[in-house]
């Protein structure tokens, strides 16, 4: 079973200076990519609990992170985002790169005591971020 390995096979296939880990880094997801983060606050810490009866805790969530170059389907971003990226990279760096912002929201139900002592249940639109996008 001792195969004779000819000397030409011992030559390294890639130049010695080539660093494989660096090469693969470009395919990994960026560490701080644009994504949704929680931020749970309670109305008592804002001293609003004297008249916001419910909910006790409110998590508006927020979007934070870098927008990778190819964003379209992963973030539901419009093609305009790619164009803006190209403008920033090739034409005019004063044009800002696309930002990581909320793309979808969900409503919030609030129970409050009104100044006249009446009680109100209200549903407000766009109070909790549910999806991020790059724009």
């Amino acid at each position: 079973g001792q195969e004779i390995i000819s000397p030409e096979f011992k030559k390294p296939l890639v130049p010695v200076s080539f660093n494989l880990s660096e090469y693969f880094k470009q395919f990994l997801f960026p560490q701080n990519e644009c994504e949704l983060h929680d931020f749970r606050l309670s109305f008592s810490q804002l001293k609003w609990d004297s008249w916001i009866v419910a909910p006790h805790r409110y998590n508006p969530r927020y979007c934070k992170g870098d927008c990778p170059r190819a964003v379209r389907h992963r973030y539901g971003s419009p093609v305009h985002t790619m164009v803006q990226n190209i403008i920033y990279e090739r034409l005019d760096p004063s044009v800002p790169r696309p930002s990581c912002v909320p793309g979808k929201y969900s409503p919030l139900s609030v129970l409050t005591i009104e100044p006249d002592g009446s009680i109100a249940y209200k549903e407000y639109e766009d109070m909790i971020a549910t999806k991020c996008t790059c724009r």
């Binding site: 929680d38 004297s50 008249w51 139900s109 005591i113 006249d116 002592g117 549903e123």
Partner: protein
């Protein structure tokens, strides 16, 4: 202060140590009060700086609204999707004045009729009335030996509105309920629509035991004065942009559930067949 990655949670009990008082975050920079600038919730928040409610709500009313909140929303405050109601606002008013008239007659169960004054100032012009009920509860949990049928007569005394019906006789039967709802939508709809914000009404009951169903029930008088003066509940549709429009978002989701590409391909097919026809 933000915890590392993931959940940024304010440490429990720690004061929010931000230089800027949260209120100042809500004030417009130039101090001008532009109504369109702040959505109603933050308008309410910014108006409330240091102001405590003039009147504390009735505990029973607060208990009822908390139960309603748990029915409509999750613990995180997200409206439950299974709800099919169209109202996105519910307001509960306790009477700001009530006058008892003729005392009730315990034997026949005729209740003292009562005059009620409700101040509806908090109802905004963009809130349209969908339904309205008078909510009765009892001073303490009474149990009726048998069903009781009540006939009530409700008269709107002020404002005298020409086109609104001013009286609504009706009846209901109740058993061991904690709450009794009397629908007064037909009376209040025209008043709320015409921006009347002070409603003066009188209500009187005549209640009798259902002997037919429960002949054995002892004929002792029942003390109906246990009824607490009612609250007025308005189910409203807030038409402002900041309010959550359930029917709209359901329709919008259905409409946009097809991806943009799918929509585009369907329109392309539509155009091609139209071209063939041409």
């Amino acid at each position: 202060s933000q915890a590392p990655r993931g959940e940024a949670v304010i440490a429990a009990g720690a004061e929010l140590e931000s230089e800027a008082d949260p209120w100042s975050l809500l004030q417009p920079l130039d101090g001008a009060d532009r109504p369109g600038l702040l959505p109603p919730l933050f308008k309410v928040l910014s108006d409330r700086r240091g102001e405590t409610p003039r009147l504390q709500p009735d505990s029973r009313a607060l208990y009822y609204m908390k139960k309603l909140y748990k029915t409509y929303a999750t613990k995180e405050g997200v409206p439950k999707s299974g709800r099919s109601h169209l109202h996105n606002t519910v307001r509960l008013f306790t009477p700001c004045a009530q006058h008892k008239q003729a005392p009730g007659d315990r034997v026949t169960g005729i209740l003292s009729s009562v005059d009620l004054l409700f101040n509806l100032d908090r109802v905004t012009a963009v809130e349209h009335l969908l339904k309205s009920v008078l909510l009765y509860t009892f001073n303490n949990s009474v149990s009726f030996p048998s069903a009781v049928t009540c006939v009530y007569n409700l008269v709107i005394k002020e404002p005298k509105s020409s086109n609104a019906p001013s009286r609504a006789p009706s009846s209901f039967t109740f058993r061991n309920h904690k709450w009794i709802e009397i629908d007064v939508t037909s009376l209040l709809q025209p008043l709320v629509a015409s921006s009347e914000r002070s409603i003066h009404m009188s209500v009187n009951f005549t209640c009798k035991k259902d002997q037919s169903k429960h002949p054995s029930a002892q004929d002792g008088p029942f003390n109906m004065t246990l009824l607490v003066p009612p609250s007025l509940i308005l189910y409203l549709n807030d038409t402002s942009a900041q309010a959550y429009h359930r029917w709209y978002s359901l329709h919008h989701k259905r409409g946009s559930s097809q991806g943009p590409d799918q929509e585009r391909s369907e329109t392309a097919v539509g155009e091609r067949s139209a071209r063939h026809r041409r």
